[in-house]
Symmetry: C2
């Protein structure tokens, strides 16, 4: 929320006055500069221009402009493993000295031996079970501090970039473009909600309350006179596949106008979104660029895209061909 | 979210140009006009002016300005019964012809006999069980339509007003004042989240995603080719008492700066809020006005306020004396 001007003044009244402002309308930038001209970029712009046009039959009032984004593989890279998988593995390694039994117990021994494929193949559910095993009994404040420390230091195994530098520049531009057109932007991810919230405002401009994700149950208690919220080793909600429309309904409370994903884990979110009345928009990012990022779809254990590829045309969902449609994949690195 | 100007234009560039705008600064209104001058009003204004002052040590950045409000008894009247209790009773009566067994089964027979006290005494938990019994197997879209129809027609048994006209004028002004100062305003209520969301934007200016409440579990499915979300007869979450800090953490993802309640159901929310680092604000509405609304606290089955009264001073929470502090209780009725 932007800070609005203060219309209220206490204890004294401001007399009427007339002020003349001189404003410079700066040269307007083309939207979506890292998107190549083509059907995907055109579909986004046509849709946004239509639903924001008050004279259009398909006008959508601003308070109904809701856009939901998957995170892994849609806003940032998920190969060779989910960012959260790397986090969990690092946590297991950090805690291993206190748990000698982990050397001979699965899935901990696989993690300690660096068998990333075995961990990733278990998907979000296995990851969340590992999160629970390593974080039970911790307060929400403590967990946030651990995530913040990790996300500002851990580096991608292939590129050496921070994970937050593995976000997609075209999607950052898309988030900005939609918000400039009155959309509220939400993340709806199978990943852990408390793993994302400490950094989504800074990286994506998405505040914590607009992040929907998987979660563990929590309990409020007063410890030594201080109220705390404890993370419990019990699943609360899996925000993936058929869980995504449920998470959207429970958290956002209205059906999105636009939904963006990249895998079959996003199929139901797009299905739910685009089945609504009035104008709706569904888009799938197809990872086709082995040189600049990764190329994967039907055979991949991470980010498998099969039903979405088969049904996109019939359902009117737009496919993004990363290699063709994106002139740039990752943001330029800021000088450090 | 307000609609922002469109900075982007497709397919053509706007040349630099200079435009002169002439704006009239209208006479600024005093904030909180329905609040009488006194310690409660002053505490709100002092706090807001401090946390929005960039030169103050207690400055709070806009993205951390979160204010949470209980609903029943804090934003609208809860006497002689919760609005949601009236809704449930009306639903039971509407569905009774299809359920002849309800005539002799509790709690349905009490509802059908109009024994409001027996229903209300069960609190939010009993209400939610009745909601589940009467709404199982219904889609979220169907439930929203029923709530919308009810809330625009049902009237308060004592005043004959619509329930949405039983909101507190001073609190509407407070919501506006906080939003004008960059706060995001949230409802955090023991009531059902899907009972509130269809009307909170219109009545309070609070969008559905900023409403936190109790909920039932839901399931996504495809019925006759159409995706739907079904409300299940199973409790998901009770957002009351020690549930409120948990609901805040799960949904909002950060600790509020300000919290407003009226009963001991809000105790833990204020406790959690005001125990945070930096400037925090807790306020309890004390119902002291039998003539204009109701007077109740320690002995009430609805909105019982006992721990909050006992501990407010020690915890630095501000008590609002409705009779003393509010010059007006309910909004003027719009001409219909």
């Amino acid at each position: 929320m932007t800070k609005e001007p203060m219309y209220y003044f206490s204890h004294h009244m401001i007399p009427c006055c007339f002020l003349a402002f001189c404003a410079i309308t700066v040269q307007a930038a083309e939207p979506l500069p890292s998107w190549n001209d083509g059907p995907a970029k055109q579909a986004i712009i046509d849709f946004v221009e239509t639903v924001t046009d008050e004279n259009s039959d398909d006008f959508v009032p601003a308070d109904q402009r809701v856009a939901t984004f998957d995170n892994d593989g849609t806003l940032w890279s998920e190969q060779p493993m989910y960012g959260q998988a790397a986090f969990v593995m690092d946590r297991v390694k950090a805690l291993a000295p206190q748990h000698p039994e982990w050397q001979t117990t699965q899935p901990y021994s696989a993690v300690l031996q660096g068998d990333m494929a075995a961990v990733a193949a278990g998907g979000h559910r296995a990851l969340l079970e590992l999160v629970m095993a390593t974080h039970a009994g911790m307060t929400t404040d403590e967990f946030e501090a651990i995530v913040t420390q990790w996300i500002t230091t851990a580096r991608h195994p292939k590129t050496g970039r921070l994970y937050t530098e593995m976000v997609y520049q075209p999607m950052l531009e898309l988030l900005d473009y939609l918000r400039s057109n009155g959309f509220k932007t939400f993340i709806v991810s199978g990943g852990g909600v408390d793993f994302m919230r400490p950094w989504t405002q800074r990286v994506y401009g998405i505040p914590p309350e607009q992040v929907v994700g998987s979660s563990v149950k929590c309990r409020f208690e007063v410890r030594d006179g201080s109220p705390v919220v404890i993370r419990l080793p019990e699943l609360n909600f899996i925000d993936d596949k058929e869980g995504k429309p449920v998470g959207i309904q429970q958290h956002i409370g209205q059906r999105p106008t636009m939904a963006f994903g990249n895998s079959d884990g996003d199929y139901e979110m797009l299905q739910w979104t685009t089945a609504g009345d009035g104008p709706r928009f569904g888009m799938l990012i197809h990872h086709t660029d082995a040189d600049r990022e990764s190329a994967y779809d039907r055979e991949s254990s991470i980010g498998k895209l099969e039903r979405g590829l088969d049904d996109a045309r019939a359902k009117g969902w737009v496919l993004v061909d990363m290699k063709q449609d994106w002139s740039k994949i990752f943001p330029d690195l800021k000088k450090r």
